[in-house]
Symmetry: C2
Subunit: 348 residues, 2 copies
DNA sequence: AGGGTTGGGCGAATCGATTCGCCTTCCCAG
DNA sequence: CTGGGAAGGCGAATCGATTCGCCCAACCCT
């Protein structure tokens, strides 16, 4: 590979002059500039990013850590973030934490060792706070995505309160009083918020949220099918069920099928997040559509802003999620969305 | 951040000794070693990857270029590759070529400027060969995935010939004689091979492959719905249709729905690649299951092998794909797969 | 005419590691 | 007693860029 010294020799100038031409850091006379540019073209010189990074202290790279690369929702987020990073002229380093506390620590350390300029993290359940200390100490800004537990940092996620409220109020509005939430892992922030919002909305409508109304499937990546089957086998089965994530929705659908239950005949169903190709399902899933595009875009925007000015106050963005009204909730195709009137005190 | 010099000072040894302790490149007495290790722990020193790369000429990073990050199949491949790269102690740089020749050139150049140790590329349709020249000149080994047009390089894809043959022979076996292939973009290598195999299998069975039997939807990422609708509107409509990719399958399903056609009542349908959540579709899709796991694993393995020994002969791996027998082809649920007898000369 | 300013370019230190050659001890065989 | 290794450690060059200070010549103004 040709180096900046080769170019300098070819153009009969000093190394520093070539550098100034390349970076536009100082005025260079037209004659010299064109000689240098010609030499660069002839030798097809590309600056050695590694050397450049070492000297300048900035790598023009951003690390992205997600908790499960193979989940549809994260795949979409990755695509959005990659696009943002690339168009900012930076490089994306991708790592998977596999929803595992220790692995998250490992990959964050690896990314810091690679001296990324910034990090975008979808933290795992019960994430070890030490990773943020590391970042702070290294002066590497962090943006949290999807899960937004810390108002002291830049973060962007979905507005769990209002989406949960709308989804719940719809089920109430069409007549259900015994509604259950398949919650998954309460250590996951989104799940946590959705569970709270669900309880509150039910209470505000004067409905009971018993111990049998929220299923905590515990840790890990499983879709929770077995637990859901056991849950459904209990007496006084709910008439409507909400799944608090896309993965859980698939688990629930598998459980229904296994138990020979039909939706919405035997039970009404609605879900959160994105379920890929849900339009081809039978019946079509009523669900909250996770705004992947907004979240990907805003995450990179927040990061760029902070890289430009480290002192800007931290910002939390709660992107609104839209509601897709399918037929799994029991409404006929194309029927208007019914929301129960708000009753009781507003939340917060 | 603490540097190797800080550690050296703390342990009262020279910089080179610390380096040897860290890398195990030379014997160090037990006493010195433990002093150095203690200093490293106390200062929680992490070697500066950038400096290390500059000096050693190797970055311990691998670039992955896919043609569309947001497609399910690539999402799965990304997950597999990330896992392989990470467990080899390397870092993954991800880039998206958006199925665009120019963008592919741009991102490859960016990755080379970052001095990746190796590249894994799913080349775009009609990829510019110059990118391989660049890699060769830079001494960066390349592994092609999914699309495997060049036997002179390491590459790993699906065995298009035998999977296409089996799928086609099944449709023939259950009685179809007028079968069409929705082929998509013939510039994509997988599509090219599948189309050839389709024609040959039909011919071997004594069936006609007319101009109306293969739909070339042309360039780009579209799912081809409009073209498929026009295609289906023509007279002498085929009784069975195969989609040559997952994206096209979704386009076809949308087209069928738009035209009010029911599967398999009005037309039999089968597909290639992975269609996410296809098990929940109605009817279940008969399709070739793309072996994402094998392809991801073998791609990283091939790359590691070549990094270890640049002179090993190039290898092409054609991973076998399995067939999922659903009901979209018209067979009842759980029925055995029927293959037409092979007639005529074997291919190649 | 002379001092100040400015434009254009050069040289060298620097970033943080790796690695090669050299030096000092120490041990042991001859 | 001494010469030759081996073990253990040190110093300095090096990777390829950035960037600061300095220098020279040209020009401007009074």
């Amino acid at each position: 590979m040709t180096t900046i010294a080769d170019v300098a020799r070819m153009a009969n100038v000093s190394v520093s002059t070539v550098s100034h031409v390349v970076n536009g850091t100082k005025r260079v006379s037209d004659g010299t500039r064109s000689r240098v540019e010609e030499a660069i073209r002839d030798s097809n010189f590309t600056p050695h990013q590694v050397a450049r990074s070492l000297r300048s202290g900035r790598t023009r790279s951003v690390g992205l850590v997600v908790s499960d690369t193979s989940q549809y929702i994260f795949g979409r987020i990755i695509a959005e973030v990659e696009q943002g990073i690339r168009s900012a002229g930076q490089t994306l380093l991708l790592a998977n934490s596999s929803e595992d506390r220790e692995q998250e620590k490992t990959v964050v350390q690896a990314l810091l060792a690679n001296r990324v300029d910034g990090l975008i993290i979808a933290p795992v359940a019960d994430s070890d706070p030490v990773i943020f200390e590391w970042c702070d100490r290294a002066g590497v800004p962090v943006v949290l995505i999807d899960r937004t537990p810390d108002p002291g940092r830049d973060q962007v996620g979905i507005d769990n309160w209002s989406t949960t409220q709308r989804l719940t109020r719809h089920l109430i509005g069409i007549g259900h009083t015994n509604i259950a939430l398949i919650a998954g892992d309460p250590g996951v922030w989104t799940i946590h918020e959705r569970t709270l919002a669900f309880r509150e909305t039910m209470k505000a409508a004067g409905l009971r949220v018993g111990s049998a109304s929220v299923l905590d499937t515990g840790r890990g990546l499983v879709d929770g099918r077995e637990q859901i089957e056991r849950f459904l086998a209990r007496k006084r089965r709910p008439t409507a069920i909400m799944a608090a994530s896309g993965l859980l929705a698939l688990g629930a659908l598998r459980a229904f099928r296994n138990l020979g239950m039909q939706i919405p005949r035997d039970i009404a169903f609605a879900s959160f997040d994105l379920v890929m190709n849900a339009e081809f399902f039978d019946p079509k899933l009523t669900s909250v559509l996770y705004p992947v595009d907004v979240i990907g875009r805003e995450a990179t925007a927040l990061l760029q802003r902070r890289l430009a000015d480290p002192d800007v106050p931290p910002q939390t963005i709660q992107a609104p999620g839209s509601l897709f009204h399918g037929t799994s909730c029991g409404c006929p195709d194309g029927a208007p969305l019914v929301l129960s009137p708000v009753d009781g005190a507003p939340h917060r």
